[in-house]
Each structure stands twice: as structure tokens, then as C-alpha cells.
């Protein structure tokens, strides 16, 4: 390693409203290094990166770039030093085309001052091809799947010839083969001397790609070390302050009667001929790559989409589900993916989010009883270990894990027997993830029928009794949870192998 790191942040202190968020944090990133920044939600990762990106100013401490002290007063200064930030949230303009998004604010013009569309399209195509994506640069972004949007976001940073790229959870909505491509690209960048700060909750990815890591906990630096010298369990321990197992959960309970039977469910262009059953107490998983139709399948099953054919039987009775309300009446609850867009009502308080689907439980003579809502919430708060001091604050102030628990509480309060979870641990830190799994398992033990959709094969492998693999709107394989592995699932998910029915 050279003696002079590309970026050095020394003794950074930062507090918001008197609450210290960072306490004397030091971070050094070498040239051509992929550096993992780890920590649970709220550990201070984002704040530290925002300081580097010029969004926030540190209370004390200094930032040096190639040995020279720099005052990062605003994001432009940061950009001028070759730092680019790929945010977790996608900043795409849906009504603009792919190339227009890529070059937004830095359009290429020809001599006459008009836009040079052909050149921009060519560069867009080139950069996307490096990521293994072949898209028409003139496609509107709103027509693209989330994973493509994320890849475009990444390409945008590449376009600007950055010296240091900060990636905040870049793989949340990517399928595994896309992740593979991204990693290849990151290795190439590294070779050409670009440094990368990589923020992720997925430790396996970090082990695969990163050279060194820095762990933050409660705003303090816990450890910086070479990746090789640490193992995953040790790093997890550093992050949460205790050990967490990655083992498959042991299931020791009997299944009850059939809760949900789905026969020949089809929707043109989205999914076709879907058959499956779920018993009470059973956890059934669905996995696959982006675009496999699983989310659309369950949005239809829950009544959010209406154009489908086939039969749905709930507890033996055929149901016509045309609205989420009828799904709820049939006893179904749905914890959607992309929590911010689909699940939380950010202007409502935590309590009100909890009670939203079961207002009838809190009314007397048509009037809402605040006290009853609060009492009920405190019982869920205890049962699900929701960390919130004042339940009257709006839900967007909670961490992802706690938000998810509130959404789960919402469906428990609505007394649903069938619970559908779509990417239940998306953007949730390791400790809270474990709690969510534990909670899902508890619910299964209580006799609820559970369906889990996940883009991560390891997730369904850890907790599901039965795993369905989907590819292009069809179920291509079905396994018992303990009789398959990631590799086999990938074969079916990529369409490399297909089999009508395969029950181990």
C-alpha cells in the first residue's frame, strides 16, 4: 500500500440537534481499493458518506484527498474531486429516455449548440454493454424494471470518470447474474486505479469483492482490517455486537389443513399456469430472477391486479378476489416489497400505520378510540421488539427493520391467516433481519400459512419448507427446503434447466 491514501477522513465528529451521530471516525481509502463500509442501520454510514459527498459538514475533523486538506462545503466540490455517489434510492426521471437520464445535466452538444443525441446514445450503449445490459438508449426509463434502473444509476457514475465511487447498497434490486457483472466491472475499475467505497448488508458479496473493511457501530469506528484476515461471523459480531448464525432455521412443527390452493392462475404477459398449495403452519418460498413474475403473481392473488384467470381457494372455498379488501376478508395479508413505495404511509404516525387495515377493532360507535390504538400498539411493540420511543412520530423516522415490524403488526392486527411477504428483509440490517425471520417462524408455529417471495435464494433456503423457483412467469421447479442448494436453484431460475414438477 502506498503511504498516502486517496481519501483520508480524520477524526470526524458530527451531531444532529445535539445527538452525536459520528464520534471521532477515521476512514482511509487507498487508490484502487474496494473498501467495505459496514454497520447496522443507524450506525452512521450514510452520514459519513454524506460528509464525504459534501452534503453535510463535519463538526470537527478533516478530509484529505491525496494528502491535501479539502473543505467539502458542497456536493459540487466533492464531484470536482472525482467523488461520485450512487445512492440507494434511485434518482431517475421516468419520463425521460435512458440516455437522457444518463447525461442529465451534462449533455453532449455539437458545435451548433444542439444536443448530440447519437453520441450520447453511443456512449450509453457502450457503458451499459460493459455491465452486460443491452438496452435501447431511447427507451423511456418508466418502462424499465427496477434492476435496470439501478444499473443505469451505476452507469451514470461510470460516465463521469470518477476517482472514487461510493455505492450505497447497489445490489438490492439486482438479480444474481447482474450482481456478478457488476462485480466484474468493479474489478476492472479497480485495476484502472478507481477506488470504491461499498456499503452493503450482504456480507457474502462483501467478502467476494472487497479488499478491506471498516465497521461502524453507534457512530464509532469498531475496526478496520483486511478482508482476508476476518471471517464473516466475526464481522457480523463486530457489527451487531453479538454473534448471529447463518444456519438454516430448524422447523419442528406439524402442518395443519390446506389454507390456500391456487390452480391454473394465468395473466397474459405476467405469469401462466401457476399451481401451488399452502398448508397452515407451512412456509412456502418463491424465488427467481428479476422479471420472473412472482411479485405480479401475488399482487394478483391479493387483488391489486385484476386481469387474471384461474381459481383461488381459501380454506377449501373458491374465492373471487377483486380488491385487496376481499383478499383481507378471505384472511390474507400482504407485506409488499419496496417498503417506502408500497407499504408505509409516511405521513401517518407509527400507531396509525399499525391500525390502518383493521380500523374496526378500534372504533366505538363509529369513532376511533385513540387509547385503544395506543394500548394495542404497545403490546405489538413488546411482542415484535419494535424500537420506538414515541409511537406518535411519523413512521418514516423509524429504521427499515422497525418499519417492517410495524407493517407485520398491521396484518397481525387484521387477524389474517395467510401472510404473503415480498422481499421481507429488503434494506434491513443483519440484527433486525434475524428478528424478522424469527417472527415469521413464530407465526408459522401459530398455524399461519406463510408465503415468502425473495430475490435472494439463501433467504428462502434458510426459512422455507417448500421452495418454488420461477422463470419467466412459470414455476420451473419445486423443492423441499432442506433438499436443495443455491446452485440448483440458480439453474432453474436462469432457465438453464426446467422441469414441470420436481418435488423432492
Amino acid at each position: 500500500m502506498t503511504s498516502q491514501p486517496f481519501v483520508a477522513m480524520n477524526q470526524i465528529d458530527k451531531s444532529f440537534n445535539g445527538v452525536p451521530v459520528l464520534k471521532k471516525v477515521t476512514l482511509e481509502v487507498e487508490k484502487g481499493e474496494i473498501h467495505a463500509l459496514l454497520g447496522e442501520n443507524g450506525a452512521g454510514k450514510s452520514t459519513l458518506m454524506n460528509i464525504l459527498g459534501g452534503v453535510h459538514q463535519p463538526d470537527s475533523g478533516e478530509i484529505c484527498i491525496e494528502g491535501k486538506q479539502v473543505n467539502m462545503a458542497n456536493p459540487h466540490i466533492s464531484q470536482a474531486h472525482g467523488i461520485s455517489f450512487i445512492h440507494q434510492e434511485l434518482n431517475m426521471v421516468g419520463d425521460l429516455k435512458v440516455y437522457e437520464n444518463m447525461f442529465l445535466g451534462s449533455e453532449i452538444r455539437n458545435k451548433a449548440g444542439f444536443l448530440n443525441v447519437e453520441e450520447m446514445c453511443r456512449q450509453t450503449r457502450e457503458i451499459l454493454a460493459e455491465l452486460g445490459v443491452f438496452l435501447n438508449p431511447k427507451e423511456y426509463v418508466r418502462n424499465l424494471a427496477t434492476s435496470y434502473k439501478q444499473l443505469i444509476e451505476i452507469s451514470k457514475a461510470l460516465l463521469h470518470k470518477s476517482q472514487l465511487i461510493i455505492m450505497d447498497e447497489p445490489t438490492t434490486s439486482l438479480a444474481e447474474h447482474e450482481v456478478g457483472r457488476l462485480f466484474e466491472l468493479m474489478r476492472n475499475l479497480k485495476k484502472s486505479g478507481v477506488s470504491i467505497i461499498y456499503i452493503s448488508h450482504k456480507l457474502k458479496e462483501i467478502q467476494a469483492i472487497c479488499d478491506r473493511y471498516t465497521v461502524l457501530r453507534d457512530g464509532q469506528l469498531v475496526k478496520t482490517d483486511d478482508m482476508q484476515s476476518g471471517n464473516l461471523e466475526e464481522i457480523t459480531k463486530l457489527m451487531v455486537g453479538k454473534a448471529i448464525s447463518q444456519e438454516r432455521f430448524v422447523h419442528e412443527h406439524e402442518f395443519g389443513e390446506l389454507a390456500l390452493e391456487v390452480e391454473r392462475l394465468s395473466s397474459p404477459g405476467l405469469f401462466k399456469e401457476i399451481d401451488f398449495t399452502v398448508r397452515k403452519g407451512q412456509i412456502v418460498g418463491f424465488t427467481g430472477l428479476a422479471g420472473d413474475g412472482r411479485t405480479e403473481l401475488f399482487e394478483s392473488l391479493f387483488g391489486y391486479r385484476k386481469k387474471y384467470t384461474g381459481t383461488i381457494k381459501v380454506k377449501g372455498k373458491a374465492m373471487k378476489i377483486t380488491h385487496p379488501r376481499t383478499a383481507l376478508q378471505a384472511g390474507m395479508g400482504y407485506v409488499p416489497k419496496d417498503r417506502k413505495e408500497n407499504a408505509i404511509i409516511k405521513d401517518l404516525s407509527v400507531v396509525h400505520n399499525m391500525s390502518l387495515s383493521s380500523m374496526g377493532n378500534f372504533e366505538r360507535l363509529g369513532f376511533i378510540q385513540d387509547k385503544r390504538e395506543l394500548e394495542k400498539f404497545s403490546s405489538y411493540k413488546k411482542a415484535l421488539n419494535i424500537k420506538v420511543a414515541n409511537p406518535r412520530i411519523t413512521i418514516d423516522k423509524l429504521s427499515g427493520g422497525n418499519q417492517q415490524k410495524v407493517i407485520i403488526a398491521k396484518w397481525l392486527e387484521a387477524d389474517t391467516d395467510i401472510l404473503i411477504f415480498d422481499n421481507p428483509t429488503q434494506g434491513i440490517d443483519v440484527g433486525a433481519k434475524q428478528e424478522i425471520y424469527q417472527e415469521i417462524l413464530e407465526l408459522a408455529k401459530l398455524g399461519k400459512a406463510i408465503i415468502i417471495l425473495s430475490s435472494e435464494a439463501p433467504e428462502v433456503l434458510r426459512i422455507c419448507h417448500v421452495i418454488n423457483v420461477m422463470y419467466h412467469g412459470e414455476i420451473t421447479a419445486r423443492f423441499m427446503g432442506d433438499e436443495t442448494d443455491e446452485e440448483e436453484i440458480m439453474h432453474y431460475a436462469t432457465g438453464a434447466k426446467r422441469e414441470g414438477e420436481h418435488i423432492g
Binding site: 385487496p324 413505495e341 404511509i345 401517518l348 390502518l356
Partner: protein, 324 residues
């Protein structure tokens, strides 16, 4: 309104500055009201006269009732431009019904019914037809005015039943009846918005429609309910408007009421895109507008300039809200 606890954001000893900024963000419209009120009292001693104060209340009561409904519509993420025209239409038809039947009760009910029906149609267009509320109610605005003009042949219609004028011109103690109706409606809407599931659903829908629907809320029905509610309130306003002079003009009654109502809601701090705002804010918003009008009249500002001042105030209000 929930008193949002400051403990959550601030540590043991919140600084004076952060406490002030919290107070400002939560109650800016009330603070602005107090400032304007004090300024008005200093500038013109006649302002504080009790009769003048009651006069202001009387003048804002009609727009105030409409603005209450507008708050609900805007909380749901929509807007209703048709209120002024629907007021004229409901007024015209109710006077005809009143004269034909000789019953004040039937006249009043007709106004409410016409208002509610027009609102229901708006709701259908927005919820089932998936037409943007701006467009749907713009269409209704033109259509309702046109029908009113057609029925009244472009002129005014007058009541011929004695006692109808009592609705708007009687007093209870020192208050004019319309003021009391406005207060009663304000209390009613407050309760609906904060104590019933309808109100909760309106906030949810305005904040995040997809999440509200995925929470098993019948979003369509709530939307229809929201527009029917404002339509009914417009019906109430139409009764007062008609009763005040015992006549209603198909061409000029209700003109630009939608602008004043929307202005009151915006000044009151309700977010244009829905999900956030308070009934109490709208009440102070309408009072601010009333005081400004009153002051300009007392100080002999040309009526042609009054719109300019109103426009300025709306823009200033929005600029201040942007700061959060």
C-alpha cells in the same frame, strides 16, 4: 391534532432555536394570523370594533365552509375547481324548488342534493374514470355554470317564500347564523377527519395511494366520498349565499370561490400533493384572507388592487412552507 412530542427529535436540552423552528413549522399559520391581526389593529383602530370583527366572520363564512371541503379534497391529493359553479347551479335550482313547493325545507334539501350529486359525479370521474381531478372538476366547472345559466336564462332568480332570508340574516346572540353554521361545519369536519376511519383513510390515500390500497382500503369509495362531501358543503354554502339576498345570479354567484377556497387551504399549510395538513390551519387561512380584505376596505385600497395583495400572500405562504 396530535401534539407531536418534541422529545423524539431533540436531546435532553433542546436549543432555543430548534424549539422555535418546531413551533414555526407546526403553527406558522397561527403565528402569521396573530402578526397580521396585531398589525391590523395598530394600523386602523376601527379594525378591533366588535361589529367589524363579526363582519369579518360573516364575510368568510361562505368561502370558509367551501374551504373546509377543499381541505379534505386536497388532503386526498386532489383538487376541486367546480365549487363556484356548482354553488350557482345548486342555488338556482334550489330557489326554483323553493318557489314551486313553498317549503323552505325542500329548498334547502334541493341545494344539498344538487351539491352532493355534482360532487358524486366528480368523484366518479376521478375514482372510476381515472381522470385527473384538475381536469374532471374543470369540466364540471364549465358544465355546471352552463346549466345554471341555461335554467336561469342568464339572469338571477329570486325567492318568493317569506322566511327564507332568515337563514342568512338572523342572529343568535351576537353571531350571524352563517357564522355559527361555519363553526358547526368546522367542528364536524374536524371530527370526521380525526376521529373516524374515513378521515384516516383520506390522509393515507393522499400520502401514498398504492400503499393505502395494499392496506385493503377501498380507495375508490373514499375518493367518491371526498368529492361528495365537498359537494354537500357547497350545497350548504349555496343556501347561505341565496338566502343572504334572497336571490342568486347564474352568471356571477360563486365566481372565483374556488380560488379563495384553495388559497385558504394553501395558506393554512395543507400540502398540495396531499397527506399532510390540518382543518385548523384552513380556518386560520380563511381568517387571514378575511382580515386582509377587511383591512384593504377600511384603508380604502382600490378593489382592483385587492387581488394583487391576495396573490402575494398566497405565494409568500407557499414560499415559507417550502422551507421545511
Amino acid at each position: 391534532m396530535d401534539n407531536i412530542n418534541t422529545k423524539e427529535y431533540s436531546p435532553e436540552s433542546p436549543s432555543m432555536k430548534s424549539r422555535l423552528s418546531w413551533l414555526w413549522s407546526e403553527y406558522s399559520v397561527i403565528i402569521a394570523f396573530i402578526i397580521i391581526f396585531i398589525a391590523a389593529s395598530v394600523m386602523n383602530p376601527r379594525f378591533l370594533d366588535i361589529n367589524n370583527q363579526l363582519n369579518i366572520l360573516m364575510q368568510v363564512s361562505i368561502i370558509g365552509i367551501i374551504a373546509l371541503g377543499m381541505t379534505v379534497v386536497m388532503l386526498s391529493g386532489g383538487i376541486d375547481l367546480s365549487v363556484g359553479s356548482v354553488l350557482a347551479l345548486a342555488g338556482v335550482i334550489s330557489v326554483l324548488a323553493l318557489n314551486a313547493s313553498g317549503s323552505i325545507l325542500i329548498g334547502v334539501f334541493t341545494a344539498l342534493l344538487i351539491g352532493a350529486f355534482a360532487g358524486f359525479l366528480n368523484g366518479l370521474m376521478v375514482a372510476k374514470g381515472r381522470i385527473a381531478s384538475f381536469i374532471a372538476t374543470l369540466g364540471m366547472m364549465a358544465a355546471a355554470r352552463s346549466i345554471a345559466l341555461y335554467i336561469a336564462e342568464g339572469g338571477s332568480v329570486s325567492g318568493e317564500v317569506s322566511g327564507f332570508t332568515a337563514i342568512a340574516n338572523n342572529n343568535v346572540w351576537i353571531f350571524d347564523l352563517p357564522v355559527l353554521i361555519f363553526f358547526a361545519m368546522a367542528v364536524l369536519i374536524y371530527i370526521v377527519m380525526h376521529k373516524t376511519r374515513f378521515g384516516r383513510y383520506v390522509y393515507a390515500l393522499g400520502s401514498n395511494e398504492k400503499a393505502a390500497m395494499l392496506s385493503a382500503i377501498r380507495v375508490d369509495r373514499i375518493k367518491i366520498g371526498v368529492y361528495t362531501l365537498i359537494g354537500t358543503l357547497v350545497g350548504v354554502a349555496a343556501v347561505i349565499e341565496t338566502s343572504r339576498l334572497n336571490s342568486i345570479s347564474s352568471s356571477s354567484s360563486g365566481a372565483q370561490y374556488e380560488l379563495d377556497a384553495i388559497a385558504a387551504v394553501i395558506i393554512g399549510g395543507t400540502r398540495m400533493t396531499g397527506g399532510r395538513g390540518k382543518i385548523i390551519g384552513t380556518i386560520f387561512g380563511i381568517l387571514i384572507l378575511g382580515i386582509l380584505n377587511n383591512m384593504m376596505n377600511l384603508m380604502n385600497v382600490s378593489p382592483h388592487l385587492q387581488g394583487f395583495v391576495k396573490g402575494l400572500i398566497i405565494i409568500i405562504a407557499v414560499v415559507f412552507q417550502k422551507r421545511e
